[in-house]
Subunit: 417 residues, 2 copies
């Protein structure tokens, strides 16, 4: 396996120039899907793809594809990620994976000429679901042919603009979305920042991802009686806040006691009526539960649900919960994981096997193609913030592994399917 | 001591007709201070005061006073309460105390003629602090001469209307507020609904209030690090929600373990950024702590503050707290309490001694006059809701005691000061 030479300066230039589209404060990026800044960034990538010798195509969802035709044809090896950001996000979440794919293809093509098999880099749209909540991996779902035309008008941003209207504003025709479907992917490889502190704590530049976590989000509603904070003795209260605090404490403690890789998060809470001198009648909170193994995940769900029911009964409260998101674990393809590990080992690049605790387009695309991911170290584990940062040598260490693996797949035809 | 005869039908008529001003849904009242509904209710009371033979006066704060001149002059015996409501509130909180004073004076005057000492009934404005947060017993502070003219423009309602502008809109001149000051109160008696379930649970119509609770409100801010709910292992988190839940659980449990009359309430909570998949960086919550005894109150403060500090340290979080309200306990006047108890006993009306866990104008007016309060039973302990209800026989039982005591004070001149 030849080692592909990656130019750190080129990686840095692409990351920084791309970040100018939607630049926010000193180091942030505010680039929601289909916004003018996002459109400009996609045009920029299309130009770079073309300069690198790739043939460029926009699909009906607005994804930009750069392709090297294979001498042999057949299904395509694909790499890439997304360039939409949180509001605000940083320069690396998503964008680094698109830059990585571009740099890798550009380097292999320059160093080894045309591939045997077709290979593509893609810049996907609306992964964060940040402008349009509920899109749930819009670009990937378009590629899978899973978007219901009703969604064009029902999924809206904060200003009430539907995703269909936003697409038309970006020169796209949602009625054509069916044409974005692909059934010719041989593999999907995605490089992404870790978004967590595990690699940094272990002193490793790179992680090879064994799978994307399963996750469930609950909305839990605890109901008691609103009464006067001064006039109601403790022993006669039905205090929704007391019950909610006990539930929150217990679910967080349960995941903490299990230890890695179990995680449980209460990120959102609302009390009603939310006045200092009134005992809350209703407290609503979210519970986000993740584990990469299906059985352990199911056990954690059962344990949390038992906590909700038991504490409500003990406190004389009512409780209901709804499941608002439910994703089974999505394992990476073992052969691709092995290929990435071989590449890392051949380079002498130290790495860890880890799972992804966050969702990614890979989670969706794994339904139609063998999938694997490479993580690169995130400073302080930060993401979704202008403060997110990945050192260029860590990015390059990941891109080298990606490039070597892509070479093996498309140029040396090491894995045929 | 002669027993004053109270007409239940008149009490009921006044309560129901007054509730028409600002009527909200079937049984609610929405009557914020200085609103048109509130102005109409004050005019209605002024008319009833005049019909009852009282001389009527508006002061510069908008309080309406009805007075019977004493044959002897000197400081005045005063009774009354407020008629502003929560948004929405019910028919009884505040209003019943004004009606009680009017009915009592009307009955005594009709049955026994003019008093020896001056006696007044007053309908106070903005007790709830609901339209203008931070007013902190506006009417009573005006009577005490404690309002800073800067407050006219700094205290604003949700729509940004200052209390000064609202007063001018109601035909009042805030610049004249100093003239509302009184230094000639011989006693202040207030009848109020209990707002709690203690009398109902004990099967008693009436409570004699031994004092108004001391209370403190904290705003507690817990700070950790916002990170991705999936990508951050439990053992590396600085989860502000985990710390806040532990603190909330502990302060509520501490008051519950102490038992009556200690109460601690967490009524308001806000998380930042408040997204399901992000570990909260900051959780802010209020803690309302009450006890009628100063020493026990101080011990509870110390215990809660120790919880905040210890849990923050254990969880690797930062914590700050601010005290936004701090009222020492305000004991009722022992001689007035005894007078009320004698009246209840003479009537054969069963009663309990209890403290007020809620703040009242009496708390402020106790600074310039001996004060006492009568509570009447609240159905289910409810208040600050259209569902609040006091049975007419319970109201009358309280008004009888009030009337007998007022007779003793102003007609028979039983207590001279």
């Amino acid at each position: 396996m030849p080692r592909i030479v990656i130019d750190p300066a080129l990686v840095e230039r692409y990351v920084f120039e791309l970040a100018e589209h939607g630049a926010y404060a000193a180091t942030g990026v505010w680039r929601p899907a289909y916004s003018p800044a996002w459109q400009a960034a996609q045009r920029q990538l299309a130009a770079w793809f073309a300069q690198a010798g790739l043939s460029v195509r926009y699909d009906a969802a607005g994804n930009v594809w750069g392709r090297l035709a294979g001498q042999r044809g057949g299904p395509a090896i694909v790499t890439g990620s997304h360039i939409d950001t949180q509001q605000p996000g940083g320069r690396y979440d998503g964008a680094l994976g698109v830059v990585a794919g571009l740099v890798a293809l550009q380097a292999i093509f320059a160093q080894h000429g045309p591939p045997r098999r077709p290979i593509e880099v893609v810049s996907l749209c609306e992964e964060e679901g940040c402008r349009f909540p509920g899109t749930n991996f819009w670009a990937s779902r378009a590629i899978l042919g899973l978007i219901d035309p009703a969604e064009y008008e029902t999924l809206c941003d904060e200003d009430g603009i539907s995703i269909g209207a936003a697409m038309r504003g970006a020169g796209l025709n949602p009625e054509q979305l069916g044409t974005a479907r692909r059934d010719d992917l041989a593999a999907f490889l995605e490089l992404h920042i870790e978004q967590g502190p595990v690699l940094e704590h272990a002193g490793l530049p790179v992680g090879i991802v064994t799978g994307v976590t399963g996750l469930r989000q609950y909305v839990v509603e605890v109901r008691g009686s609103a009464n006067h904070a001064g006039a109601f003795p403790m022993d006669l209260r039905r205090d929704a806040m007391a019950g909610a605090a006990a539930m929150i404490g217990e679910v967080i403690a349960a995941a903490a006691a299990l230890g890695r890789p179990a995680v449980t998060t209460v990120g959102r809470i609302l009390a009603k009526p939310n006045y200092p001198a009134i005992i809350p009648e209703r407290v609503t909170f979210t519970v986000d539960v993740r584990h990469p193994e299906a059985q352990a995940l199911a056990a954690l769900f059962a344990r949390h649900e038992a906590s909700f029911a038991r504490i409500a009964a003990e406190c004389g409260l009512e409780v209901d919960w709804q499941i608002t998101l439910d994703q089974p674990p999505s394992p990476a393809d073992p052969a691709l994981v092995e290929l990435l590990e071989q590449a890392a080992s051949a380079r002498g690049t130290p790495f860890a096997r880890l799972h992804s605790g966050a969702g990614h387009d890979s989670l969706m695309l794994a339904r139609i193609a063998p999938m694997a991911m490479i993580f690169v170290q995130s400073k302080d584990g930060r993401s979704h913030t202008p403060a997110e940062f990945t050192a260029i040598d860590h990015a390059v260490a990941g891109i080298e592994i990606l490039a070597d693996a892509l070479y093996a797949l498309a140029w040396s035809d090491q894995m045929t399917r």
